[in-house]
Symmetry: C2
Subunit: 124 residues, 2 copies
């Protein structure tokens, strides 16, 4: 079973966390046929945490967990903290393949997405 | 002249600001034929500021400035601070049309972009 785990920073503002949960719902619909399950987890300030998200996916029978950082910048979180969390999850779940994808901000499709926002509003 | 202004939060970490500048370069290439000029500005911690970015675009002859918030969450910055900055820029440049687009995180194309990141890495 293939599990896509969207990980976000987490915010004191509950609405921001809910935006991530809403996005995860949309992602679940878009991922049908590609991933068996989709969920989200937060680095801090909201639940579930990233270890909890991974443990839960493993408990539900995921053999492969693809972790996608919903972060714009390659800072301390993306470069150091998250890889450490993933390394530690590897040790807890040696039977599961856990793959950390590049963060959102590094996507080569970002310029097109930004232009599409302008286009949708009638500018382009 | 149509100007696309990408606005980001800005970071103490210079590399993060440079990531935004690099993205602006890519956006400039992608926007050819749609926008005459593309630049970036920062809410805080880096230069130019958003008012400086708008003033500079206006000085260079922009008649329309399309402002695109490179933010994931609709927090205080996106919901309150940035609209105030734009309103104040309107007053300084009554001859220029300044349009604030929805923030990146609200894009309906986001789920597809996230899936494309997984796809590019061979997952999907």
């Amino acid at each position: 079973m293939k599990h896509l785990l969207l990980i976000a920073h987490g915010s004191r503002r509950q609405q921001s966390n809910d935006e991530v949960r809403d996005l995860t719902q949309q992602l679940t619909a878009a991922a049908q046929g590609h991933f068996d399950q989709v969920s989200c987890a937060f680095l801090e300030l909201s639940a579930p945490s990233i270890p909890e998200g991974i443990d839960s996916a493993a408990r539900q029978g995921a053999h492969s967990i693809i972790v996608l950082p919903y972060f714009l910048a390659a800072g301390q979180h993306v470069g150091t903290e998250i890889p450490k969390i993933i390394a530690s999850a590897h040790q807890r779940h040696p039977q599961v393949t856990i793959t950390l994808l590049p963060h959102l901000g590094a996507s080569k499709a970002m310029p097109s997405l930004l232009l599409s926002i302008a286009e949708d509003m009638g500018y382009r």
